[in-house]
Symmetry: C2
Subunit: 222 residues, 2 copies
DNA sequence: GAATGTCCGAATGTTAACATCACGACAAAC
DNA sequence: GTTTGTCGTGATGTTAACATTCGGACATTC
């Protein structure tokens, strides 16, 4: 969005990045369920590359918390225990508070517009997987608007895990989810646009709570 | 201490971990100054291993923010601009607040004792490099006492950079630093031991400010 | 003389073969 | 019957050679 007319970044990516993307997609698509082993030779064969880039890709996915690996024991897809979800929620809260403060205080109008667009995009979504992607994308936009590289990196370190968590929510309260979530995000964006820090913090906290307590307190109506 | 009599973790580490440690030490020792290039063949030759583990080690150091790398352009030691230092300070604040809350609320007495020991250890230190190491070790202990794996990982992602930052402070106000810092940390530990969340948060904030404004507002007396 | 095009060197990216390790099954010993 | 020791399999860890790419130096062109 209007990077002041700047041209594209135009940086070439290595094979390892590409491989990491493919593996990540496969995990989110359910090809590799949580707990499944990710064998290097198998992945290398499937993606038609050697083990080097696969190895590097697994290291990056480990940085994202999507994968855990032990010495000579290979990599497995992360499984999220209730304790893990609690950790994710508290850490996400800490990061998001900082992000919201930064955005409300210093964000450019362009960046705010990008956040609003991300919220708008959710209204035209039917598929649940797509909605989860949009949800994550919205928060990506918020962190991007904060213009805080290390904060964004910290978010990326748990981003995929949050994605995984949201995925487990699919099927539960799906009707509510699809109906209410877009409006909720529009309010978040509006509070940021108004630069109302306190209101934004409150709304973001409520938003996290909605996502979180579906697991601990499932809605009996569904 | 006293992990309830549990034996040591006893997990073997790979070559890559060892290599990462050596490179990290070399950077902290000043062998590779900020901005310096880290050539894979050079490191591999010096450490007498092949480029594979070196490559892996550089990826880990990149995760720690100690190293930056671009495609086909190799890795360089991170240089910290004033903006970077500001980022570190704000992110560190967010993480530390969560850690302090967790510790004050749920930490075991054993974990608190470990924190106190880390603070005590600072009193017998003369060398400035050693003091910086103890300073970091103290905060390590606090994060460990929080018993929050992802929070600890987030801390580790900026830990080395904070170390680098503290190193730049050496030589400035060194007398003050060596004299006052140990007492400051003992107060931090005491507030945690008393489980006085608000006081601890205030003290930790003041502590960060002390470290931070040496660069922005150097003491004229020194 | 400034700009463009081409080439060379040096570094990283990638590959495939080799070495090492962990886990499980099976057998032996107590 | 439980435990301990051995072995084989299949994976990861490591290595060294090959391919690709970047950056700068030099020559060329207008």
């Amino acid at each position: 969005m209007s990077e002041q007319g700047r041209v594209a970044p135009a940086r070439r990516r290595g094979l390892a990045d590409e491989v990491a993307d493919r593996i990540r997609e496969a995990i989110f698509a359910g090809t590799y369920a949580p707990g499944a082993q990710l064998r290097e030779v198998e992945l290398a064969g499937a993606l038609d590359v050697s083990r080097g880039p696969v190895r590097e890709a697994l290291l990056r996915l480990e940085r994202e918390g999507l994968v855990r690996s032990a010495w000579h024991r290979g990599a497995t897809v992360t499984t999220l225990s209730p304790a893990d979800v609690a950790e994710l929620d508290s850490l996400r809260a800490a990061l998001e508070q900082l992000a919201v403060r930064q955005v409300a205080a210093h964000a450019s109008d362009d960046d705010l517009a990008t956040v609003e667009q991300a919220a708008e995009r959710m209204r035209r979504v039917e598929d649940e997987h797509e909605m989860v992607r949009c949800d994550i994308a919205f928060h990506d936009a918020v962190y991007a608007a904060a213009r805080h590289r290390r904060l964004e990196e910290a978010w990326q370190a748990i981003r995929s895990q949050v994605h995984l968590f949201l995925l487990t929510r699919i099927g539960v309260r799906s009707a509510d989810y699809l109906a209410h979530i877009p409006e909720e995000h529009r309010e978040l964006a509006a509070a940021l646009r108004a630069r109302d820090t306190e209101r934004a913090l409150t709304l973001f906290a409520a938003h996290r709570l909605h996502a979180f307590d579906v697991l601990t307190d499932p809605d009996p109506r569904t």
